[in-house]
């Protein structure tokens, strides 16, 4: 029995030793990399990373490509991606390991303070969005890069009532921090309302007469990215209002094609004319008029 086990043990040890030996690679220098990756080497030379490392000196400027990709001798010998640290599609490292390499330097960035709780952390690596070899700064081309995954947002942003996202005046990063935040949706504020107030300050109040859902959550009535209803509303005004106001005063019964504000009036469709409920309740976000409890002035 022992005689049979010995060769097996020796073979296992040899195999293990071989793997350890193979994992030990040496630095070969950026010139070796440029021998095959000519185009990347050329654009990277003009990149912000190359410029920063040249300016800062030390280990980064000495190691060049291998500052991020690790020692490359094993890769030179095998020509396999498995033998070198690589980024993006086809990488042998998982997303978390790839991002960890970037965080070696960028961990001090304010924007990355909440990366650990970011919904992007785990399945998305930095290289999925940023092109570090680009000849300019590796900024993300928004919103296109975001739309690659968030197709529902692309759909909403193209609806007739939308924030100026596709016009380029509001970028995804204006409202969201893709690197993580403590708020749901990785918002750049403590709440959705606080975020909206950064532009729509006139809705903040305080008002003498507050409309409770306005104080509570702008998202109660509005969609964030786009809607087929005016003002990014989630429903048509009459229906939206009656979600809550369905029991008293003139909207005592749900509106349909037989009843409006005045069923005996000239037109049963008058509830849909103009701005509908907002024709009269035109200060619906809140009113400072003492006698405007119903937001009519």
């Amino acid at each position: 029995m022992k005689k049979r086990l010995l060769p097996l043990l020796a073979a296992t040890l040899l195999l293990f030793a071989g793997q350890v030996f193979a994992a030990e690679a040496n630095y070969v220098g950026s010139d070796s990399c440029a021998g095959c990756h000519e185009e990347v080497a050329q654009t990277h030379g003009d990149s912000i990373h190359a410029q920063a490392w040249a300016a800062m000196g030390g280990k980064y400027s000495e190691s060049g490509c291998e500052s991020c990709h690790g020692p490359g001798s094993a890769h030179v010998d095998s020509n396999s991606k498995a033998d070198i640290v690589s980024f993006g599609e086809g990488s042998a490292q998982d997303a978390e390991a790839q991002s960890a390499l970037c965080l070696n330097c960028h961990v001090t960035s304010i924007d990355l303070a909440f990366w650990d709780v970011s919904q992007h952390n785990g399945e998305t690596s930095c290289a999925d969005c940023h092109n570090t070899h680009a000849s300019a700064a590796p900024k993300v081309d928004q919103p296109e890069v975001c739309f690659d995954c968030h197709k529902d947002v692309r759909r909403d942003s193209n609806k007739r009532s939308h924030h100026p996202i596709i016009e380029g005046k509001v970028s995804c990063g204006d409202c969201h921090n893709p690197h993580g935040s403590m708020e749901h949706g990785m918002l750049r504020a403590d709440s959705k309302n606080q975020l909206c107030y950064t532009c729509h300050a006139e809705k903040r109040g305080p008002f003498i007469w507050e409309h409770p859902p306005v104080e509570e959550n702008c998202g109660t009535c509005h969609e964030s990215h786009g809607s087929r209803h005016d003002k990014l509303l989630s429903e048509r005004v009459t229906n939206l209002c009656q979600n809550c106001h369905d029991w008293s005063y003139h909207p005592g019964t749900p509106y349909d094609n037989t009843g409006g504000f005045d069923p005996t009036g000239p037109s049963f469709d008058d509830k849909f004319v103009g701005r509908s409920c907002l024709n009269c309740h035109n200060t619906i976000h809140g009113s400072n008029s003492p006698d405007s409890k119903m937001f009519v002035r």
């Binding site: 003009d46 912000i48 410029q51 920063a52 300016a55 800062m56 001090t108 960035s109 304010i110 000849s135 300019a136 700064a137 007739r160 100026p164 016009e167 005046k169 532009c199």
Partner: protein
């Protein structure tokens, strides 16, 4: 404030050549002609943009000198949807950004109102207006303009 932003931008652009730095980027100028059935007067067509027959411009210039860098970006300069930003810093130590962004939101153009002083704190009915005659009402572009000015400074105290 607009003047201040442009003067600051100008000073940066004038001052940087003295630094014997390397430059890259692009400055582009173009022209635009809008035609159609009053297309340029459609509020929906130009909902968030200042679109008319006009000269268009785009600026993206990057300066690099030793460990200092500066980037100047801008588009639609001089129009209601212009934006300009200056960002820069010292690699590994500090970065800053100054920006000015203007946004126009056109709700409806060539509107009419019985009131004079729309957009001000006092609405009055002009004696020349006859309520029953819309042809005497006063013309009005119902638009909202927003200006955003900001600055950012980030220091790395422990490199």
């Amino acid at each position: 404030m607009k003047k201040f932003i442009f003067i600051a931008l100008l000073l940066f652009v004038i001052a940087t050549p003295a630094l014997a730095a390397t430059y890259s980027g692009e400055v582009s100028l173009g022209g635009r002609f809008v035609d159609g059935d009053n297309t340029e007067k459609s509020a929906k067509f130009s909902e968030y943009r200042d679109i008319d027959d006009q000269v268009t411009s785009e600026l993206d210039v990057r300066m690099n000198q030793d460990n200092y860098y500066l980037t100047v970006e801008g588009e639609n300069l001089g129009y209601a949807d212009q934006s300009v930003s200056i960002s820069g810093g010292y690699y590994g130590q500090a970065k800053f950004r100054l920006f000015y962004d203007e946004l126009t939101h056109n709700y409806s153009l060539d509107d009419k109102s019985i009131y004079a002083g729309v957009g001000s704190s006092a609405l009055t009915i002009s004696p020349s207006v006859t309520i029953g005659d819309a042809s005497t009402w006063l013309p009005l572009d119902y638009t909202l303009d927003r200006q955003q000015i900001g600055a950012m400074l980030e220091l790395t105290l422990i490199p």
